[in-house]
Symmetry: C2
Subunit: 557 residues, 2 copies
């Protein structure tokens, strides 16, 4: 049964080393290249995706009392795919029925299966890229990277941490307690891993795989059964994932219902019923703060791991590369039209301007520089489409419209091609810091505020304070004063937000790399957990012992 573990053991070992080193490492190549994935992979992936459209999604043996599905590509067409769906009680019962054999399985067998699933997911990265693209609105290249290899890396990271924790305590030991001149007391002790039970993964629309894989694979590796509840607008990427898991489980002679899909329809979501079910003992949630708060309050005794939302800030204090700074920020604001939990919203700029390698720049000159950089980045419509993708949710379009009245428009949002209804470039507004009602609310999507502050220190304080109060997943600083940089490092650390300083090249504040960057700290309202640290995996299982006086021959150490 450990053939899969043995096959993938080198990958696991490298992943474990990477979590220690935290330098650059990736198991799954991020380049959608035929040389890596096979020359036919791109066409095959598209063909596989197309073959799924317009028909029921097959999940052999999955509980089913209805077929549900109403996904519409943000790029236009409805997917017309339906998925097997049923009520919460049936899902829970099927999950619990599958549980005992999975719980009793060895760590190596479970981890081997998880690693095989990740390897197979990697092989179908092109198909998943199309599925992610047409449910999230991400452009193809991003859908491939974030939805495919990067998500797989995050899944592998979770498996590695889970393996490390599950093997931290030996499975047996001899306990010999001296008794002075008398014979010592000698006990043999045995420990085993006991999973918590049924694990619920609640996916989001914008990153259905990247944000779900850590919790999914952490729970699966630690012996829990998993019910995957996708956003009703982004079912397909997780349905494909669940189908691959079920396939490997069935091949290894496990009940495929160890992994279930909880598909539901917009307006008839079953999420609340799942969260409130007493049998659910672990919940991974990605989504809004308001529903996250509801989940935390109604989860009962379940362990809850959340990535919610916040307001991310950039403080522009000074720079020795004004052009590079503006280009870098322009990309961060434009990428996937700001529909990232890591995208910046507020850019704090001193009202009297900043010092740069091009001399002093007034507040308005900084604005102009950033707007020009965005315009330059997006002037070519094909390139713009490749960066911005499409808007996943009509509510985001409405939010852009409403935001236009919130400040001085220094760059208006527009569709990439005239008349198209599903794209939106960044809307940039200038406001003063005192308009906290405007810029201290999260406004998800391509909406950013350039916020006038007294000086750089004021900007750092305001950004850090906002992160502490409302949550933030990323923060960025541009500065040339090392003393002030040290102050900012302290301020953002106390606010529990990861800080990027002086990014001007091909790396962006939005990016979070598995095996090196912890995504979300869990130390401010943007989430209570971190992808992936020990705390994310260690409480998904418990360790139980039996002990007895040692008898000759029964145990050898």
């Amino acid at each position: 049964m450990d053939a899969l573990f043995d096959r993938h053991q080198p990958t696991l070992a490298a992943a474990l080393q990477a979590t220690q080193d935290r330098g650059y490492w990736s198991a799954y190549p991020e380049t959608p290249s035929g040389k890596i994935y096979g020359e036919a992979a791109k066409d095959d992936g598209l063909a596989s995706y197309n073959a799924r459209l317009g028909k029921p999604f097959a999940l052999s043996g999955h509980p089913e009392t209805a077929q549900i599905g109403a996904e519409v590509s943000p790029f236009g067409p409805p997917l017309c795919i339906t998925y097997p769906a049923t009520d919460v009680e049936t899902l829970i019962a099927a999950s619990q029925a599958a549980a005992p054999a999975w719980a009793d399985t060895s760590v190596k067998t479970r981890v081997g299966i998880c690693l095989e699933v990740l390897a197979r997911l990697n092989r179908i990265s092109f198909e998943i890229a199309n599925a992610v693209m047409h449910t999230t609105g991400q452009a193809f290249a991003m859908a491939f990277q974030a939805g495919g290899p990067h998500a797989q890396d995050r899944g592998l990271e979770a498996v590695a941490y889970a393996f490390s924790e599950m093997t931290r305590t030996p499975t047996q030991a001899i306990w010999t307690k001296p008794q002075g001149k008398a014979e010592p007391i000698v006990l043999e002790k045995h420990w085993r891993i006991v999973p918590r039970g049924v694990s619920l993964v609640i996916g989001c629309q914008t990153f259905p795989t990247w944000n779900s894989y850590p919790g999914l694979f952490a729970s699966l590796a630690t012996g829990n059964t998993v019910i995957v509840k996708p956003h009703p607008g982004a079912i397909l990427p997780l349905a494909i994932t669940v189908s691959v898991i079920r396939q490997v489980l069935a091949e290894e002679r496990f009940d495929a219902n160890i992994a279930l899909l909880a598909a539901d329809a917009p307006g008839a979501e079953i999420t609340r019923d799942l969260v409130e079910n007493d049998a659910v003992s672990i919940i991974d949630y990605t989504g809004s703060n308001s529903f996250g708060d509801w989940v935390r309050r109604h989860a009962g005794k379940a362990q809850v791991y959340t990535e919610e939302a916040g307001v991310n800030s950039i403080v522009v204090a000074a720079t020795d590369d004004f052009t590079g700074m503006c280009a870098n920020i322009a990309f961060s604001l434009s990428l996937y039209s700001g529909q990232m939990c890591t995208a910046p919203q507020n850019i704090y700029v001193p009202r009297n301007g900043i010092e740069t390698n091009d001399g002093h720049k007034s507040f308005d000159e900084v604005l102009v520089g950033m707007v020009a950089a965005i315009d330059k980045l997006l002037v070519d419509t094909a390139r713009a489409a490749g960066i911005c993708g499409a808007i996943a949710n009509p509510a985001t379009m409405a939010r852009i419209e409403a935001a236009r009245g919130l400040g001085r428009i220094v760059r208006d949002s527009a569709s990439i091609n005239a008349g198209d209804q599903h794209t939106a470039t960044p809307l940039i507004l200038a406001v003063d810091a005192d308009r906290t009602d405007v810029h201290e609310e999260e406004r998800f999507g391509p909406i950013a505020f350039i916020v006038g502050v007294a000086d750089a220190t004021d900007g750092i304080e305001k950004a850090a304070s906002l992160a502490r109060r409302k949550g933030a997943i990323t923060a960025a600083l541009y500065d040339t004063d090392e003393g002030r940089i040290d102050t900012a490092v302290d301020a953002f650390a106390k606010a529990g937000v990861n800080l990027s300083i002086n990014l001007t090249g091909g790396i962006f504040v939005n990016q979070s790399a598995a095996f090196s960057d912890f995504h979300v700290t869990g130390a401010n309202p943007a989430g209570n957990a971190s992808l992936t640290d020990t705390a994310f995996v260690a409480n998904r299982f418990r360790t139980v012992m039996w002990r007895r006086p040692k008898a000759a021959g029964r145990i050898t150490m």
Copy 2:
């Protein structure tokens, strides 16, 4: 500042190794011997204890608006000690004011201070033994062991796990991402440990130090400030502990208010106000299930670690040492008059008896054997007093009285010396398994039921089911059938309870040894946490990063 860390580093290293090996290891000798602790240690400890009686307890610089204290020794006399006390808001404000410097301190400095505190607590183990004895009712030898060295071992174990987790991620790394033929992107990354904030430790009356030290030292080591809320009947052992912590903190030029005592009076407890305070971000709780449930529901966003209660069982299926079995069970039932979260309550015995090395024993013969073993153990009153100690809480006396009507009394409870009001030997009742209303409720104290079951397998099933439903911290089995033992191992593991098999010598089911036995699994209603595993420490702090393009000379790896 790291002199303390360097001094105690060998102890820490040995502790870390012990948590891996999980064989027998202890840092602090459990024998109250003059050869180990100094010939004068016993008298000095008693003198120090006596010197505290009848006067205010000095905690220099501690917030104080009143003096509170109403402890009465279970052995008779009131302690007449008062403690500095104040309202919750003042405690929280003092804790928060002390927090920043402690959070900013290096891991080594904090861990060094914790290790120094533990070493000093060890040196005053005789004083603490007297304090524990006269607040809990434990006999002196047990008060010394459980209240002194064993509690210190549990504290050290928590510090070791905390150190291991805090040093798992490097403080810095170089991240070099290849860019094909272009120059790689090179970032330097820096990580730091950020504590959660104010930590609340809620102590219990029966094991004020043993049950509090793990949470207290885990939170302190990870950079949180700590408010220690003792049971109003057992303040002194934790007041001494807090005073030692404050002394070391002050010597190391930290604000002593990093550790605060939240003394309160019976009937005017401030626990609920502390739990509901938004500033409290970690809660460690030992106590009843009903209040534990309240704590979990009212803790808001705080991390909650509980040891609650359950009903512990022994299944008697067969034995090849009937006398040894009866003697072992007799001691487990008598020790500290059953006032241990680990003490057995239900002893499941087949109605048609069991096979033993002395031939078949009927149900009643098993009863008689156990009762005789208890009587023999306690026949000498001095020895009985040394085993049973005193009853900590009058409610336990009332519970014994009420329990007399619950079944057939096969051994009545009695005082050790005629007429004394504060001791009680075990009450043993025989009931049939169908009286679940009787034996499936926790009846804390020297109350045990010998429960008639169909056969050994029925007993195993009933005991495991009870553990799963109501919680259990320990389980024991006596059996000679290896196949049935395997079945029991599986059943109790699934119920999340540690199992001891065929204990007949000088080791008892009640005993849980630091560095080897995990105390409570967190996998059934007897508690949600385990002393001590990774999950107990890893979420008491968060890891926050800053990153920037690597500049020559700024970082060397």
